[in-house]
Structure formats: structure tokens, C-alpha cells
């Protein structure tokens, strides 16, 4: 579904992405893992067209995403730090996004809005929200339009255990519907029961892209965090 070919991006002297090529297919749940500053968010933002790669290209369903925008109809994005117009209320932000993005014959998916209890907070202004509530709004927006691809950047950071359980269940449910899910996270233990594939980035370079079973077999570790740790030790 999403194919990145030789994507490179420099910020000044820093090579955020260095010749990265990955292929992501339908029905997969892919974890993007790597140390801080390894280019995970840059890769995600390149897929969304928020960052324009210096070289290389990315295709979505076979179409180059450069100068295209309609492909984003199929993507739900949850940013690492959700930034919203400060003096709008939660309700206004949700209504605005529905107004801008609404398509015919696509039902909006309000599961998360209901599960997070955002209805009681609709009149709260964005600037008064705590980090966790903001994350809840971001998550609800990502799932709202029933997209076939979900891009989640540190989805559980800042969420309380209850909320992050709700979110995880929602991710699993969407994965079962055959959607492609891309997740970055530092809390590897959380990813265990979610992911099917691992992409490991370091210093902007792709170190490996393997399925979870392959990784477990090669390292002899059952848990994801152990497996990744043993990979990191060997390098």
C-alpha cells in the first residue's frame, strides 16, 4: 500500500532519513522503532506529505504522493504532540474536521469519542486541556473518518492506563478489519500484542524490517523489548 523508495531527508547537516526504503501492506500492523532522533517521526511526516523528502519517492496505492493530496482521505494521523487552534473548543475542532473532511457515504466512527467520554468536555477550549485529553482528541480525530491507514505517532504517551487500553483495543479491532496500522512507540511492552512487523531505524538508516515471528526466532527472545535489546547489543 505504501512504498517508500530511497527516501533521504536532511535538516541542515543532520541526516534525518538516509536512503530508507520500506514497503507496508494492507492488514499489517507495523511498529517503527528506534532511539530518539532516529528519524521515525520524519518518516511518518514524509508519508503524510508534511515533510518533503530531498530525494527518493513515496507511493500510496501505486501513486506518487508528491503534489497529491487526495490520498490523505485514506489516512488517519495521530501526531506525537497534537497542536490545535487554542481558542476553539473540542466540539468546534471535531465539527470543523467533519465539515472539512466529510465525504459522502462514509460514516464517521465515533467509538473513541464515546469511549473517552469526550462528550462531557465538548465545551472546553483546547488551551485548557491537559496533555492526556489532547491525546484523546488526537486519537479520536485519527479514527473519526474510518481511514484505511492509521498512522499513530507515540499514541499512548501521556494517556492514563484506562485510556491507553481503550486505544489499544480500538487499534486491534481496526487491524482485524484489514487496515494498515503504523505505530511508533518507546514503550515496547505495549506493542507485543499489537504488531506483526518491526521496522528498526537508527541514525536515519533502516536497520531491518522483519516480521515479529522472524525476529523472535532469530533472537530466541519471546518478548519484543528483549528481542530489540538483544539486537541493539549485537550491533
Amino acid at each position: 500500500m505504501i512504498i517508500a523508495t530511497n527516501v533521504s531527508k536532511k535538516f541542515g547537516k543532520l541526516k534525518a532519513l538516509d536512503d530508507v526504503s520500506v514497503t507496508c501492506n494492507k492488514g499489517e500492523c507495523i511498529a517503527l522503532i528506534g532511539p530518539n532522533g532516529s528519524g521515525k517521526t520524519t518518516l511518518i511526516k514524509s508519508i503524510l506529505g508534511m515533510v518533503v523528502p530531498d530525494s527518493g519517492f513515496i507511493t500510496f496505492n501505486g501513486r506518487n504522493i508528491l503534489r497529491d493530496w487526495s490520498y490523505r482521505n485514506d489516512i488517519g494521523y495521530m501526531p506525537q504532540i497534537g497542536r490545535y487552534p487554542e481558542n476553539m473548543t473540542i466540539g468546534q475542532v471535531l465539527d470543523m474536521m467533519k465539515d472539512i473532511r466529510r465525504r459522502k457515504n462514509v460514516e464517521t466512527d465515533n467509538d473513541l469519542v464515546n469511549a473517552f467520554g469526550l462528550h462531557d468536555l465538548m465545551k472546553k477550549r483546547m488551551r485548557t486541556l491537559s496533555g492526556g485529553t489532547r491525546q484523546k482528541v488526537s486519537a479520536s480525530l485519527a479514527f473519526l473518518f474510518n481511514p484505511s491507514v492509521l498512522v499513530l505517532d507515540e499514541p499512548t504517551a501521556g494517556l492514563d492506563p484506562v485510556a491507553s487500553e481503550i486505544l489499544k483495543e480500538k487499534i486491534i479491532a481496526e487491524k482485524k478489519k484489514g487496515k494498515l496500522v503504523l505505530i511508533t512507540s518507546h514503550v515496547l511492552s505495549e506493542l507485543d500484542d499489537l504488531v506483526t512487523q518491526i521496522i528498526y531505524l537508527q541514525d536515519g538508516k533502516l536497520r531491518f524490517h522483519k516480521s515479529l515471528e522472524d525476529l523472535q526466532r532469530e533472537t530466541g527472545e519471546g518478548k519484543l523489548n528483549r528481542a530489540i535489546a538483544s539486537v541493539m547489543m549485537n550491533k
Binding site: 503524510l48 508534511m50 497542536r83 472539512i100
Partner: protein, 255 residues
């Protein structure tokens, strides 16, 4: 695109600054027309104030507004929207609000108190200048990541167009006083939309005789239909060119 413009305008109108600007212009123009004994004199006084205030408020407000909507822009960029649509909607919302503020604040008093072409010309020039400086502001803010730097740039640009440029022109005039540069001055005046606006209004006022020989040359050029159209084309270019460059920059910007 219409939907985004709607959200931008609603957001700007909720901002009290634009309301204060409208009331300020309204009070200013009403008091000038009531103080001066003839509307022509009133227009002349209003001219100088408008040529300073309108560009200043347009450029500074727009620059700050663009920086303050960085969250809004970021939110929209990850949605299925064309980047140029987002940017042009932001511009359209700003330009429309500034133009409406000028029209209510200065345009309506001008239409009420004066008759004839001079007032109309001033109204049109004021509206175009509002749009031009919004366009320059969006260019200034897209090329600078830092907010403080961007606002500083906007203020410097305003300073350049309303004060420094005239100083430069005077300097050139004195340095080349021995050469026949009157014709070249027409070309140079096209480099500054504020000067262009001032010349167009002054020529309507029939006070261009006071400008001496250069004034006569100006009258000769801008007084004809083709010269007049050329001047308007130059002002239009001042509105569209910075906007066009800013769209191209925004399309390639990393967010």
C-alpha cells in the same frame, strides 16, 4: 476552500484587534472630515494618515496572525487538502478582513463626505494597499520560521516602503540632479506600492502642479489611460507576486 476561508474569517472576527482597527479608522476619518472645512482638504489629510496606517496594520497583523495559526495550518496539512488551498484560504480570509475593515472604517466616511473621483480613487487605493501588504506579510512569514524574526522582518519591510524608500529616492534625485532622470522616476516609483498609490491619488487631486517638473512628467504619464492602467497593473503585481512566491515556498515547506 470556501469552508477554510469561513473558519479563518470567523477566527479573525473573534479577534478584537480588527474591530479596534475599524473603529480607529472610523473615528479618525470622521473627525478629519468634521474638522476640515472642505472635503478636499479632509481627503488630503486623510491621505497621509491612510498611507502610513493601512500598510502598517495590514502587514503586522497578518504576520502575527499567520504565526499564531501555525497549529491550525499544521492540523490542516495532515488532512486531505491541497497545500495551496490552505495557504490561499488563509490569505483570502486575511485580505478580505483587512479590506472590509478599511471599507467600513475609512471607505464609508469617504463616500459620505466626498463626491467625485478623488474619494473613489482613495477608497480603491486603500483597499488594494490592504491586500498588497497582506500578501507581503504572508511571504515574510513563510520564509522565516522564528516568530520574533518574522514580525521584525514585517516591521522593517513597512519601514522600508513608507520611509526609507522615499529617502533613497531623494538621495538618487540629488545625486543625479544634473541628468534628465524624470522619466526614470516613473519606473522607480513602480517599485513601491505606497508611492504608486500616493501618486495616483495626488494626480486625481489636481495638486500635482505643486510637484514641479517631475509632477508634470507624472501627470503626462499617469494622466493617460495607458499610464493609468500600467500603474494599476503594477499595483496588482505587488499583490499577486509575493503571494505567488509564498505559495511556492509553502508547498515545499517542512512542517
Amino acid at each position: 476552500m470556501k469552508k477554510i476561508i469561513k473558519y479563518v474569517i470567523v477566527d479573525i472576527l473573534r479577534n478584537r484587534i480588527i474591530l479596534a482597527y475599524t473603529i480607529f479608522l472610523l473615528v479618525l476619518s470622521l473627525s478629519i472630515f468634521n474638522l476640515e472645512d472642505s472635503p478636499e482638504k479632509g481627503l488630503l489629510s486623510l491621505l497621509n494618515i491612510i498611507l502610513i496606517i493601512v500598510p502598517l496594520v495590514s502587514i503586522v497583523f497578518s504576520t502575527i496572525y499567520v504565526y499564531n495559526s501555525s497549529e491550525f495550518i499544521e492540523l490542516l496539512v495532515s488532512q486531505p487538502l491541497k497545500r495551496s488551498t490552505i495557504w490561499l484560504s488563509l490569505f483570502a480570509g486575511l485580505a478580505f478582513s483587512m479590506a472590509i475593515a478599511f471599507f467600513i472604517g475609512a471607505g464609508i466616511p469617504i463616500l459620505l463626505y466626498t463626491t467625485g473621483n478623488t474619494g473613489l480613487m482613495m477608497l480603491v487605493i486603500g483597499l488594494i494597499l490592504s491586500v498588497i501588504f497582506v500578501s507581503i506579510a504572508v511571504l515574510a512569514s513563510v520564509t522565516t520560521r522564528d516568530k520574533a524574526k518574522g514580525i521584525g522582518k514585517a516591521i522593517l519591510l513597512w519601514l522600508y516602503f513608507s520611509i526609507l524608500f522615499d529617502g533613497l529616492v531623494l538621495f538618487i534625485l540629488f545625486q543625479f540632479a544634473d541628468y534628465p532622470i524624470e522619466k526614470a522616476m516613473i519606473g522607480i516609483s513602480a517599485l513601491n506600492p505606497i508611492d504608486l498609490g500616493r501618486i495616483l491619488i495626488l494626480l486625481e487631486m489636481e495638486v500635482s502642479a505643486l510637484l514641479g517638473y517631475t509632477g508634470a512628467i507624472f501627470k503626462d504619464f499617469f494622466g493617460t489611460t495607458s499610464g493609468f492602467l500600467l500603474a494599476f497593473a503594477a499595483m496588482l503585481a505587488w499583490a499577486l507576486l509575493p503571494l505567488w512566491i509564498s505559495v511556492r515556498k509553502f508547498n515545499a515547506k517542512d512542517l
